[in-house]
């Protein structure tokens, strides 16, 4: 007994010494980090402790947490058993699945097309225009969308009326909602997404093309046999990483296209995890329940992301952000 405690004390002492030594040597560097570290502790890590309210019937925050009634996994159970759960899961997987399967080839196709353009000026103009929407918020994009498609003054409906056709309702029509999200997603991200493919096309060694030319290959053959095979691994990595984020629906987009935070036109087809947490948590102030919903999503999401990263690393030599 005595021996082990002595050993522990020695280890502690040793650690303390190392800490002091490190601080003496690099103290000023650590001092620089103080504001940033404080930010992470307060704004990012304290809320992680706050998720414990999901297991209580929340009334008092943090310090007096245990004065609240213990509920255990009750909130999680009632969420999973509620009709909202199936609806949210269906919408989330439906919308992200659609974007993933139909949307993700678009930036690749744009990059391949841009690569075929030989006039530098044209290429630059197209790039400048298509990169722009990435920097606009969903509010601005929805504003443009509203201007184009609203019932009273929308440009598209205006044209339809002039042609003697009926007006169409896209803004508040449930049956168009997923398609609208997909189309605006592609519109916003196609240019920005193509940058990475263009970069990997540029990194293909030129002697591959040269020797292909000597063998008599034309432009089309070179694209099919050199360019596309070289960028496919990048596509595969991005696809797998996107699979890992399949629960992370683009919150701002969905909320805006549903008609704004107060609107409830399209909750049937548009309710996803985040919009539900927002509505139940902040609007209805059911803090414990909403937190449970959030944790459920975060934990399933974390497992998916870690696995996606692992697969990308194992099979496609992805190095990861870390």
């Amino acid at each position: 007994m005595k021996k082990t405690s002595g050993y522990c004390a020695a280890v502690n002492k040793n650690r303390q010494n190392k800490f002091i030594k490190e601080m003496k040597k690099h103290g000023s560097l650590y001092l620089l980090m103080v504001p940033g570290i404080l930010y992470f502790i307060i704004i990012r890590y304290l809320p992680m402790w706050g998720i414990s309210i999901a297991f209580f019937d929340y009334k008092v925050w943090l310090t007096n947490l245990f004065d609240n009634q213990w509920l255990g996994l009750e909130n999680f159970r009632s969420f999973i058993q509620s009709p909202s759960f199936t609806r949210i899961l269906r919408n989330t997987l439906g919308i992200t699945g659609l974007k993933l399967l139909i949307g993700s080839p678009f930036p690749l196709i744009l990059a391949l097309m841009l690569n075929e353009i030989t006039q530098k000026a044209t290429k630059r103009v197209i790039q400048t225009i298509t990169y722009l929407p990435h920097f606009l918020s969903w509010v601005i994009i929805y504003g443009l969308f509203f201007a184009m498609f609203n019932q009273t003054y929308g440009a598209v409906n205006n044209i339809l009326v002039h042609l003697g056709l009926d007006k169409i309702d896209i803004l508040t029509n449930k049956s168009f909602f997923w398609q609208t999200l997909l189309a605006s997603h592609i519109w916003k991200n196609i240019g920005w997404g193509s940058i990475i493919y263009l970069a990997s096309i540029n990194s293909i060694p030129t002697n591959l093309y040269e020797s292909a030319s000597i063998d008599g290959a034309n432009r089309w053959q070179k694209t099919c046999h050199i360019t596309i095979p070289s960028v496919l691994p990048v596509f595969a990595i991005l696809f797998i990483l996107a699979l890992g984020r399949i629960l992370n629906e683009d919150f701002q987009q969905v909320l805006m296209f549903m008609g704004g935070p107060d609107a409830v036109y399209m909750t049937d087809v548009g309710e996803v995890f985040e919009t539900y947490v927002f509505r139940v948590g902040l609007v209805e102030a059911r803090y414990s329940y909403a937190t449970a919903v959030g944790i459920f999503k975060s934990i399933v999401g974390l497992i998916l992301v870690i696995n996606a990263n692992r697969i990308a690393k194992k099979y496609f030599n992805y190095r990861g952000a870390w």
Binding site: S28, L29, Y39, P47, L110, I140, I195, Q252, I295
Partner: protein, 293 residues
């Protein structure tokens, strides 16, 4: 061989046309919104809505926008959030990234704990309750504070700083310069492209930030511009009548429809102004390098 040549020519033309079509879908909505914002409301109504050919050019809508207190306040709020936020973001993120680019005993642990917040977070409700607890709710600062450091920007900067050879600093250290001074007098000028990229991205992030105001600022007079724009759009969608927006009293003869588009333009133009600089820097590959890993 000739047919092959022709096939290639045809496919080249098709590719060009598709690209132009894509560009058109982006340019035309902007063109129509800009045009409508400069058009008299009566002309808009007469022609049944959005225009493609200019009818009457007037600054009426913009005059109204810049006379509407609520929009001026929102503009000022946005400006404050963007400028103050970007300053502190760049300052604190680089003060975190610089030490982590050195070999420190606890550097790996701190770095991982920062990276971990990209994978997992407490979520909306605990964050909301915390901000309420520390009395940040209902202030402009709440938007600044929530986005104060980005782990992603931190990693970008750290990687950039790590490339700078250490010998440069050593002589300064021997001369007795502090780390703070070295960071801002030596490292900053050397990493200007990286700092500028992050600064510009942060500016766009803060300017576009509308959702945090919905979450954390109940008082609408403290809302930034995009959130006010969201409110206008939400209201006009709800009624589908143009009279519903903002305050009707001081806008008896106001171009309601064109006012909406004028506000949209006022929200968009600042981004368009920084966009050329953004493009200059992200083209340099700093962001791409990070995306590639």
């Amino acid at each position: 061989m000739i047919t092959n040549q022709r096939k290639l020519r045809v496919s080249y033309i098709i590719i060009n046309m598709l690209l132009i079509l894509l560009a058109v879908t982006i340019v035309v909505p902007f063109y129509m919104v800009i045009l409508s914002s400069f058009t008299k409301e009566t002309d808009l109504v007469k022609h049944g809505g959005m225009l493609f050919i200019p009818q009457s050019i007037t600054l009426e809508a913009y005059k109204t926008v810049f006379n509407e207190n609520r929009i001026i306040t929102a503009f000022k709020n946005s400006l404050f959030i963007t400028l103050t936020g970007t300053f502190f973001h760049v300052l604190i993120t680089s003060m975190l990234a610089y030490p982590l680019s050195k070999k420190l005993r606890y550097g790996k642990v701190i770095g991982f704990l920062i990276y971990f917040t990209m994978l997992f977070n407490g979520g909306l409700i605990p964050t909301f309750l915390l901000l309420k607890r520390i009395n940040l709710l209902n202030t402009l600062w709440v938007i600044i504070v929530v986005g104060l450091v980005s782990p992603y920007h931190m990693i970008l900067l750290r990687n950039f700083f790590a490339e700078i050879p250490g010998e440069i600093e050593e002589s300064a250290l021997i001369d007795g310069a502090g780390r703070f001074k070295i960071l801002f007098k030596m490292i900053f000028p050397l990493s200007l492209p990286a700092i500028a990229t992050i600064g510009l991205f942060t500016m766009v992030f803060y300017w576009n930030n509308w959702l945090n105001a919905v979450f954390f600022i109940p008082d609408k007079s403290k809302w930034p511009l995009p959130t006010i724009l969201m409110l206008m759009l939400q209201n006009s969608l709800r009624t589908q009548t143009p009279e519903d927006i903002v305050s009707i009293e001081d806008m008896a003869s106001v171009p309601a429809e064109s006012l909406k588009y004028a506000t949209l333009m006022v929200t968009t133009v600042p981004i368009m102004l920084v966009y050329p600089f953004l493009q200059k820097y992200f083209a340099k590959g700093i962001i791409i390098g990070a995306v590639k890993g």
